[in-house]
């Protein structure tokens, strides 16, 4: 029969043991950090959950402005083509050296994603999320914080362009993104 103090000691010993094993693993250098080797499932889950929860919390109070102005599409289109298309692709392009080589792989923002129900709500949340990600970037993912060099208005213009990007043909894309 183990007493209460015995249980507490066992718990403390377990915590110390797990901590020691974790620290040993951390410093051993065994974990592969190359971008050509995927994360293990637990690490991937941990990082994805951390990322998604953090973005959701940080972006939930962002007020989305009207995004239907054609001027926004032209401004955002030119910036998207300059800053984003290399990784996030464009109509008619399935991959690029960057989209293949980066890990995690950048999402194909020109691809159509089916949204089931509650489209309007999803649109707003997606807009908030995209604005936040473009502005602040994501650590250790290759996504820069464009907010350091671009004001909110230009970022919203990119968000506006992203909403219509999956609907564009390659020719429409060329027109909207050409700088004249």
């Amino acid at each position: 029969m183990i007493g209460r103090s015995g249980k507490a000691a066992a718990v403390i010993q377990s915590v110390i043991a797990v901590g020691a094993i974790g620290t040993g693993y951390l410093y051993s250098g065994v974990y592969p950090v190359g971008a050509d080797v995927p994360h293990t499932r637990p690490v991937l889950w941990l990082l994805q959950t951390l990322r998604e929860r953090s973005i959701e919390r940080a972006s939930r109070d962002i007020v989305v402005p009207p995004l239907d102005d054609p001027k926004l599409l032209l401004s955002g289109g030119a910036d998207y083509n300059d800053m984003c298309a290399g990784c996030h692709l464009k109509p008619g392009r399935q991959d690029s050296d960057l989209s293949i080589g980066l890990y995690p792989r950048p999402p194909d923002l020109a691809a159509r994603v089916e949204v089931p129900d509650g489209r309007q709500d999803d649109d707003m949340q997606t807009a908030r999320r995209r604005f936040w990600v473009i502005k602040h970037g994501i650590k250790a993912s290759g996504m820069p914080a464009w907010g350091r060099t671009h004001d909110d208005q230009r970022i919203w213009a990119m968000v506006a362009f992203l909403r219509r990007l999956p609907d564009l043909t390659p020719l429409q894309y060329q027109i909207l993104t050409t700088k004249i």
Partner: protein, 96 residues
């Protein structure tokens, strides 16, 4: 004399490097003139077209300005690529 030449070279190099800091200024984009391929707009005009669609409106605006430029009516600078410079109608977007 050598010191003066060194100073001149240093200033020129500094100007060269600092110019890169404006790489994302919308005004820089205007210098890289290119022509939009407006065949898609022609196709849209010939087919069913929703003139209230912001994409169609943006394409018409873009192609209209390109046509004006090609005809030499480019006295005014385009404002749509300067949306971030604080001169457009979306100026009231608040900082998040």
């Amino acid at each position: 004399m050598n010191r003066r030449n060194f100073a001149v070279v240093t200033v020129l190099l500094a100007m060269l490097f600092t110019s890169a800091a404006r790489a994302h200024d919308p005004a820089e984009h205007a210098a890289e003139a290119a022509a939009p391929d407006c065949r898609a707009l022609g196709d849209a005009v010939n087919g069913p077209m929703d003139r209230n669609d912001p994409v169609i409106q943006a394409m018409m605006k873009q192609c209209g300005e390109a046509a004006d430029r090609s005809h030499g009516h480019d006295g005014e600078s385009p404002d749509h690529h300067a949306a971030g410079s604080g001169h457009s109608s979306e100026q009231d977007v608040k900082a998040q």
